[in-house]
């Protein structure tokens, strides 16, 4: 039961995070509910894969992004929004921000310990670790969400055709 609540709250907070970070980039108001649903589905799926199945963060992000991308094909037509308008905000909570700035931190710490070979190389290793994780997660997020576009070219590229919102 507590696991169920964990999954639910993960989805809920991811939905709030997606709407909030998305609102910086001025999405149409009609898109907000769908951004929330997609973000909740994707993030909860990643949470399940990582905690229940022990999948690594990179592969789990790929699956989550694929779910979000496929969902945006369906919802995009409904609210006449290009897929990116729905899936980019929904992906934002999964962007590896902490790994990204820790990459820079490890580099700075490497400079600090440059004269000590053991400590210095430890930080260098950490930099490669953080950099590799952040780039791979980001790459998988973009690729996972774009695969549905490649599979359904016609439909994916005519989301806003006949829009009644302009």
């Amino acid at each position: 039961m507590s696991l169920f609540i964990d999954i639910l709250s993960d989805g809920l907070f991811a939905a709030v995070a997606a709407m909030g970070f998305g609102s910086i980039s001025d999405p149409p108001l009609r898109a907000f509910p769908y951004i929330a649903i997609l973000a909740a589905l994707g993030h909860a799926a990643r949470f399940c894969l990582m905690t229940l199945c022990g999948v690594d963060i990179v592969s789990a992000s790929l699956v989550a992004a694929f779910i979000i991308g496929s969902g945006s094909v369906y919802f995009g037509k409904k609210v006449a929004c290009p897929m990116t308008v729905l899936y980019i905000p929904a992906l934002l909570p999964m962007v590896p921000g902490t790994y990204a700035y820790k990459t820079v931190f490890s580099l700075i710490m490497f400079f600090q310990e440059i004269s000590s070979p053991t400590k210095g190389s430890g930080y260098l290793q950490e930099m490669i670790f953080n950099g590799a994780v952040s780039f791979s997660v980001l790459f998988m997020l973009a690729v996972g969400a774009t695969v549905p576009v490649f599979l359904l070219r016609e439909r994916a590229n005519s989301m806003t055709r006949g829009s009644r919102f302009i």
């Binding site: 907070f13 991811a14 970070f21 898109a31 290009p82 905000p89 990204a100 931190f105 774009t146 919102f165």
Partner: protein
């Protein structure tokens, strides 16, 4: 199809179409739409007006050539890409405009009038955005395992930090400086959680700057790369990376002040 295609166009008409499409695509690129969509939409509008459009894009300028279908008139133009804030609303509206132009055979004047009305729609209320971003960052703190108090600190710190960012951006301060200062302000506010002795203070501190991470340009850059627009994709990634370095600099100032160590 448009009546313009029936009779031969004059050079002046081609020039007018070029002017409009140049403006259209520079607005879309400036508002952070990924490249392949901008190119596709511009070609679609060109199709509706009876011209072939080819576009070359780079980070700060775009070049386009417009050629009359089956005729001899053509026009080439280099256009500066204005730096608008990212707008998904424009992305959706201007894409819909390209389809409307294509399906309803609108004339150039009609398309231009519609375009002007779409881009002059007011954006989202800044106070609402401020509240939403703070709420989002607090939820983010929770996702990383922070408790209620840590969430509260993150909420407040984000609010102050994002307000700083909005204010400095309005004053047209260089955006690298905006990012360094906002990251510093948000993290120094969040470091109050260390002094307050909150259990998950570290998490509050670590998540307080995440509202600054340029997620949209990062994802856009990779979408461009997967679409084959590799040069502009890399430019976007490099741009976003510079901003991440700025976030790290701002935050490291706080960490050196309060913790004396970065990691």
């Amino acid at each position: 199809m448009n009546t313009m295609t029936d009779a031969d166009m004059t050079g002046g008409q081609v020039r007018e179409i070029t002017d409009f499409i140049a403006k259209y695509l520079s607005y879309m690129l400036g508002a952070g739409v990924h490249t392949s969509r901008v190119v596709r939409n511009s070609k679609r509008i060109g199709e509706a007006l009876g011209v072939d459009v080819s576009v070359h894009t780079s980070q700060k300028t775009a070049t386009l050539t417009v050629k009359e279908k089956g005729g001899t008139h053509m026009d080439t133009m280099v256009v500066d890409i204005p730096a608008f804030p990212i707008s998904f609303e424009w992305n959706a509206d201007l894409s819909a405009l390209s389809w409307a132009a294509h399906d309803k055979a609108m004339t150039l004047d009609e398309i231009r009038a519609k375009f002007d009305s779409l881009v002059s729609k007011p954006g989202m209320n800044p106070v609402f955005v401020l509240f939403m971003v703070s709420l989002a960052n607090a939820s983010f703190c929770r996702l990383f395992g922070g408790d209620m108090l840590a969430m509260l600190v993150t909420f407040t710190a984000t609010m102050i930090g994002f307000f700083t960012r909005q204010h400095l951006t309005k004053k047209k301060v260089n955006h690298y400086i905006v990012f360094i200062v906002s990251a510093f302000v948000a993290s120094i506010c969040a470091s109050s959680s260390l002094a307050l002795g909150i259990d998950t203070a570290e998490i509050a501190l670590a998540t307080s700057v995440l509202y600054l991470v340029p997620g949209v340009p990062l994802i856009n850059g990779l979408i461009d790369i997967t679409d084959g627009h590799i040069q502009i994709g890399i430019s976007r990634l490099v741009n976003a990376f510079m901003l991440i370095v700025c976030i790290a600099i701002g935050m490291s100032l706080t960490l050196i002040l309060v913790k004396d160590s970065l990691l």
